[in-house]
Amino acid sequence: MTAMIEATNLCKTFKLGTVDVEVLKDIDLTINSGEFASIMGPSGSGKSTLLYLIGGLDKPTTGSIKIKGKELSVMKDKEESVMRRRDIGFVFQFYNLIPNLNVEENIMLPILLDGRKMKDYKDKLEEILEEVGLTERRHHTPRELSGGQQQRVAIARALINEPDIILADEPIGNLDSKTGTDVMKLLQRINIKKGKTIVQVTHSKEAAEYGTRTINVRDGRICE
């Protein structure tokens, strides 16, 4: 088993005016390749913050994060961006699609940003559209889609570049339970069939059960 994500002595403090709010306190966490981990905990406990730090969307106050053995804090913006598009796929609670791009274009974003040609990924796109069940909707814009469909576009976008890691922040938090189940099943399939390492933040016990491991966060500390 190789460690995909290694966080050691991770601390994060936010300045709220003059007050320092310690959101994450000395976190140590290792997630291995092929794991499907669910981070759980009460609202405001720092789950999203942890996930964003892992994805390099924010910097820790102290401590280190290694992704596939590489230290994040020493990376330049360029390297970090490359890592985000090649090694990590993000899925957010509110989908976060680009409104003026259609389904296909949204999915292809990481490819485009990587300076590759869309047409070289035709087959790949077909396959992923099939996988998430949006072949028919490929030319629609996000606002013409339902929440579940938008979330599936977001997942497809996270998958297109074949990253090893998928980070999902409450992926079904905004969906009804039927759609939620579909999305969870999709993530599980990706974890099992493709062997992707998945870390999700979730509130629901059921959602956590699709995973292989649960990490509980309380008051900025991990209590597994």
Binding site: L57, D77, K78, S81, V82, F90, N96, L112, L113
Partner: protein, 839 residues
């Protein structure tokens, strides 16, 4: 009610930049509106002031007619009018030559215009302030008051004598006064002026008791016209006229007024667009709250009232600021239009409180009208739809009437101006200018779609994937449409005004450089054919021909005048003036020959338009010999003598104008004209020679025109400035709206450089589209202006180069790219998480 107003005030304060933008455009509009309406008044005042320096408060001036046997006449006025006058003052004009001895150089003959007048009479018409005096009182005998300029230039001192040659005899005058450069001594930059006692001058000329001019002020100015009529009837050999006539004023200010209103129209259009689009945003923003207010019982009237109140508030504040700024701008325009070649003109501003109030009201109405449509639209939406957030669907479908209307406007802009004639034609052309911009704005969504499709294909090769993404971001982008509109309006105005003004200057220069085939005008009083061989004998003179000319000839049955009527002698006219009629030299010569056969006339296009006549028509001119009818045999498209020009055969001009002498000699020379003119002036000083080189006239005309052109260009720069401000505002709004999208780009792996690149490609593309559309609109407007100028002045070939068009389009790119520097930097420094989270 209170809470709604509080909410609005809070909103206004929050959107500082937008509030500033709206206020800025209203303020500028009000200011320019005020300035251009008051400019005419100020110019009138300036012109009147200038004239008053010489005439004082005099309203009527009487001089001998050109045809009279002598310049001098008996000043006795018919008894019946005397009791109606406040004063009537006679004066006696003459000329003296002062030989200025320069050590080591040739003597210079300085000609001094002498005014013979009683000292107290002079003080009645216009006050003379003396810098120093010596026995000036009593003002009798051979005393002279010279100007400070004359004294300084030739080292003349008070109490010394000044020797003048008058009528061939030398006289010694006592310099008993040196006058400040005010009143009649106001410097005209060219000549010297001095006052001597009336009696002494008239007796030197052997005209004791006679005068050359009478100045009159009436007791009751209402009677002015009646008095002029009466005096004209009884004084057959004299010309009785107003010192300042309405048509003179018109002539002085007409061009400026037309130019300013045209420029103003463009600025106003820009403002209307900015206010309209801002209010579209404002009403959509306020929609949810308005819905809430209405759902809890506020009537439609109340919410309408509040929105309208906001727009009125902008209008009131903008109107107040604008009135203040307007006075400043008025002063600047006045400064720019003050003739600098004549130091007698003093910059002065003139406006009425009515004009201030009108501008203020204009600001309020401008704001109200521009915001009315968006406000009414919102007002019509049922509360239920607002609360349920259903409106978006209503606005989605693009309306078919927009492109259709756009195309109709465009066609009108193309096809109406060529057929629009006369005064209504000018109005129609102005409307067409507006229609062409309106058409551009209506058709813009379709144009932009086309551009985007093209760029999408190109950019993959030029800029790679970031280019493709940038173009995709521009699809159906309202913000882009706004920016492109703003740029297009600004750039088209700039291009149009710049082209028109430059072409006009070029045309003027061209006229002097090519149309006039001689280098100077030269005249002395009572010149006849005998001067021709004398002049030709002068070294450096290649040719000299006498021309007869008359000014301000009234056309019977109209209130129009022909400014300049000249003799066209078929034997040499074409050698001196480059004229082509009906396309060929032969045809032109034929026409000139035709002039001799019967009373016929060649008029310029300007005169044709002014009189509304065509070739083959006849016009009757009021001439000293009586009313004479001339047949129009040719129309000449030329800026000759400013455009208001006509030519008739020499023999008819002599007969009908009763002219005995040439008005001037046209002189061809291969020597430096300035030197030659100096030489001639000196040589013929005894004969009171005078002249002007073509270059002097050209410089003066170019300068007087370039000043008003500068003002117009300033207007177009202001239009662009408002546009830039609008673009900046839009980009900031767009940045705020896009923060989330930008954070998403970052989260899926876009690096900082890529973000900056993408944003710059977007703005560059937007700028390019704005530039191209602006240039296209500008070309349409230039075409309209060409037709309009043909109506007002003359056919002026519009010259614009590819370079100029490219620069104009590039201005769009530069504006957009510069304006997006700050958003681009902010985007790259964006905190991803903060922007991605829903608050």
């Amino acid at each position: 009610m209170n809470i709604i107003i509080k909410f609005l005030l809070k909103n206004i304060k929050e959107k500082k930049l937008r509030t500033a933008l709206i206020l800025f455009s209203i303020t500028i509009s009000a200011a320019l509106f005020f300035a251009s309406s008051a400019t005419t008044d100020s110019m009138v005042k300036m012109y009147t002031d200038q004239i008053k320096k010489f005439y004082g408060e005099s309203e009527i001036i009487i001089e001998a007619k050109d045809t009279a046997p002598s310049r001098y006449f008996n000043p006795t006025l018919p008894q019946e009018y005397k009791s109606h006058l406040q004063y009537s003052v006679g004066l006696f004009s003459g000329t003296g030559i002062y030989k200025y001895k320069r050590s080591g150089a040739k003597d210079e003959n300085v000609s001094i215009n002498l005014r013979g007048i009683d000292w107290k009479d002079q003080q009645i018409i216009s006050k003379v302030t003396l810098a120093s005096e010596f026995e000036v009182d009593p003002f009798q005998g051979k005393k002279i008051v010279i100007s400070k300029k004359t004294a300084d230039k030739y080292g003349l001192e008070i109490g010394k004598t000044l020797e003048l040659m008058i009528e061939g005899t030398k006289y010694k005058f006592l310099i008993s006064g040196i006058a400040q450069m005010t009143g009649p001594f106001t410097d005209d930059g060219r000549s010297h002026f001095a006052i001597v006692p009336m009696e002494i001058l008239s007796s030197i000329y052997d005209q004791k008791g006679n005068v050359s001019t009478i100045y009159i002020k009436t007791l009751n100015s209402v009677e002015k016209q009646w008095i002029i009529k009466g005096l004209t009837a009884s004084m057959k050999k004299q010309h009785v006229r107003e010192t300042i006539s309405q048509s003179d004023l018109q002539e002085q200010t007409g061009g400026v007024t037309v130019a300013l209103s045209m420029a103003l129209v463009l600025v106003l259009f820009m403002s209307v667009f900015i206010i309209y689009t801002s209010f579209k945003v404002i009403t959509t923003e306020r929609l949810p709250v308005i819905g809430t207010f209405r759902s809890i019982g506020a009537t439609r009237k109340v919410t309408d009232f509040v929105l309208l109140g906001e727009s009125v508030a902008y209008g009131v504040i903008g109107g107040l600021l604008g009135s203040g700024l307007g006075i400043g701008i008025l002063y600047l325009i006045a400064k720019a239009t003050t003739p600098t070649w004549d130091p007698g003109y003093k910059t002065s501003v003139q406006f009425t409180s009515a004009q201030l109030i009108t501008s203020f009201l204009m600001a309020v109405i401008l704001s109200l009208l521009s915001s009315l449509i968006p406000i009414l639209k919102v007002s019509r939406i049922p509360v239920k739809e607002i609360v349920l957030n259903k409106i978006e669907k209503n606005q989605k479908g693009s309306k078919i009437w927009k492109p259709i209307l756009g195309i109709i406007f465009l066609l009108a802009a193309f096809f109406v101006p060529p057929v629009a004639k006369g005064d209504p034609g000018i109005l129609m052309d102005t409307v067409c200018t507006l229609l062409s911009i309106a058409a551009v704005i209506l058709l813009l969504p379709y144009l932009v779609r086309g551009f985007v499709a093209v760029f999408e294909r190109l950019y993959i090769y030029i800029f790679g994937n970031e280019g493709v993404l940038a173009v995709k971001n521009l699809r159906n982008n309202k913000n882009l449409l706004n920016n492109v509109s703003l740029l297009a309006i600004g750039i088209s105005s700039l291009l149009m005004i710049n082209t028109v003004t430059r072409s006009s200057v070029t045309e003027i220069i061209n006229y002097f450089d090519t149309c006039m085939k001689y280098q100077m005008f030269f005249w002395v009083p009572e010149m006849d054919k005998s001067y021709e061989p004398i002049l030709k004998a002068v070294d450096g003179i290649k040719g000299a021909k006498g021309f007869y000319s008359a000014n301000g000839i009234e056309v019977k049955g109209t209130d129009k005048k022909i400014d300049s009527l000249e003799s066209a002698n078929k034997d040499f006219y074409m050698d001196y003036i480059d004229i082509t009629l009906d396309g060929s030299k032969e045809a032109t010569l034929k026409k000139l020959e035709q002039l001799e056969n019967e009373r016929s006339i060649i008029i310029t296009g300007v005169v044709r338009n002014k009189l509304g006549v065509k070739e083959g028509d006849s016009i009757t001119l009021k001439m000293p010999a009586g009313d004479r009818t001339y047949k129009i045999i040719a129309i000449w498209d030329s800026m000759m003598m400013g455009g208001n020009y006509a030519a008739i055969a020499e023999k008819y001009l002599k007969q009908d104008m009763q002219s005995k002498y040439y008005s001037y000699f046209a002189i061809k020379s291969d020597k430096n004209p300035e030197e030659l003119l100096l030489f001639l002036k000196d040589k013929f000083a005894r004969n009171l020679a005078n002249g002007q080189t073509m270059k002097e006239i050209k410089d003066m005309v170019v300068e007087s025109n370039s000043q008003i052109f500068n003002v117009m260009n300033a207007f177009s720069v202001i239009t662009i400035l408002i546009g830039v401000f609008g673009v900046l505002n839009n980009l900031i709004i767009s940045f705020i709206e896009r923060k989330r999208s930008l954070a998403v780009f970052r989260s899926v792996g876009m690096n900082k450089k890529q973000i900056v690149k993408m944003i710059f490609i977007e703005s560059m593309t937007g700028g390019l589209i704005g530039g191209i559309v602006g240039v296209a609109a500008g070309l349409i407007m230039i075409n309209i202006m060409k037709h309009m100028l043909t109506q007002v002045i003359a056919t002026i070939p519009m010259n614009y180069s590819i370079t100029m068009l490219t620069i104009s389009a590039t201005i769009g790119v530069i504006i957009m790219v510069t304006a997006s520097i700050s958003p681009a930097m902010k985007s790259s420094k964006l905190n991803i998480i903060e922007s991605i989270k829903y608050e």
